[in-house]
């Protein structure tokens, strides 16, 4: 959809436009796709942060206690799950973005405002999901690192610290749940109203 001149302003109206009004002319599709990109990229940054924090401790501790190697890979799998949350949300959000092909006569303003609503909704969904997964990945990574080191010294502590990791992994899940609810109202309709 080429919005062109959404509110049909002429040059004089453009000249005295405020910054707020110019902000509203940032394309709704930009907000939507940027939200998708943020959701995915920040989730994967969180997952990778967790993986290297945990991996380094795991590999270092395994030198003197080789028995901990296979059990503590579960911390790495928790971090990978964070990345998968990001992928799931990105695919859900991509499915919501459709091309608006036309609008009913005389309703260009309403159509553009609805599109803005959809765009903002998807952008902030991306922020919620992405930042939650970033923080979750770091949390699981740091906890997993502690888990590996403690397990190397005292095997009984492994399961107890795993419970802490599960609580940390719930953060990403909260982000996904809120994200799904947040983007459920954002539907780009082909004819803008139906």
């Amino acid at each position: 959809m080429n919005w062109g001149n959404p509110y049909n302003w002429d040059a004089a109206e453009w000249q005295q436009a405020t910054w707020g009004e110019r902000f509203m002319f940032i394309d709704p599709y930009f907000w939507s796709y940027f939200g998708v990109g943020l959701a995915l990229a920040t989730s994967i940054i969180g997952a990778s942060w967790g993986i290297f924090v945990t991996g380094v401790s795991l590999l270092g501790s395994t030198v003197k206690a080789p028995r901990i190697r296979s059990k503590n890979l579960i911390s790495v799998i928790f971090c990978e799950a964070v990345a998968i949350y990001g992928v799931i949300m990105a695919i859900i959000m991509i499915g919501k973005i459709q091309t608006i092909e036309s609008y009913p006569n005389g309703q260009q303003d309403e159509c553009y405002t609805t599109a803005l609503f959809n765009g903002y909704s998807l952008f902030w969904t991306g922020i919620s999901v992405g930042l939650s997964n970033l923080i979750c990945g770091i949390a699981v990574g740091v906890t997993g690192s502690g888990c590996a080191i403690a397990d190397a010294q005292t095997p009984e502590t492994f399961v107890k610290i795993l419970v802490v990791e599960i609580f940390g992994s719930a953060l990403g899940l909260f982000g996904v749940i809120v994200g799904i609810i947040q983007c459920s109202g954002a539907t780009f309709l082909k004819n803008c109203t139906s």
Binding site: M1, N2, W3, G4, D27, Y29, F30, S32, Y33, F34, V36, G37, L40, A41, I44, I45, A47, S48, W49, I51, F52, G55, V56, L58, L59, G60, T62, V63, K64, P66, R69, S70, L73, V76, I77, C79, E80, A83, I84, G86, V87, A90, I91, I94, I97, T99, E101, S102, Y103
Partner: protein, 159 residues
């Protein structure tokens, strides 16, 4: 309403940012992975030269990230050149997002591969049984870049 003859010029601007960011960020990640692991290999190779060839695996895995960035860059470049007029700006933003997805994911994966590879090759020199664990962690780190590639390819199919 929608002018079918003229293509919104900003679509090309954002599209080509996507192409560039896919390649640039993926190569940043790839280079970090190769460098950080490489330093580890050089350090441990002094005392255990037989393990050097086995330890080159993290460097190879980091190199693959650059290939992901190149694949997405080439695909997006073809798509940006053939943007259709009907939903030009939407396509431009979609290709921007695709490039950022692939690039930033590969960057993150490269950071992870580098740091884990460095620690892994040094630990492998001291304890033989670590090799399998190191490979498993590196595979999980590589999969992150693959997720970014998959979503980029989905985004590049927008019309």
């Amino acid at each position: 309403m929608s002018d079918t003859d003229t293509i919104e010029p900003s679509a090309y601007f954002f599209g080509y940012i996507g192409v560039a960011s896919a390649v640039v960020f993926a190569n940043l990640g790839s280079s970090y992975g190769a460098t950080k692991s490489g330093v580890g290999i050089c350090s441990m190779g002094v005392l255990k030269p037989d393990l050097i060839m086995k330890s080159v695996i993290p460097v190879v895995m980091a190199g693959i990230l650059g290939i992901y960035g190149m694949i997405v860059g080439v695909i997006l470049q073809g798509k940006v050149s053939s943007i259709t007029a009907q939903s030009a700006s939407k396509q431009g933003y979609a290709y921007l997002s695709a490039g950022l997805c692939c690039g930033l994911s590969s960057l993150a994966a490269g950071l992870s591969i580098g740091i884990v590879g460095d620690a892994g090759v040094r630990a492998n020199a001291q304890q033989d049984r670590i090799f399998v664990g190191m490979i498993l962690i590196l595979i999980f780190a590589e999969a992150l870049a693959l997720y970014g590639l998959i979503v980029s390819l989905i985004l590049s199919q927008t019309s």
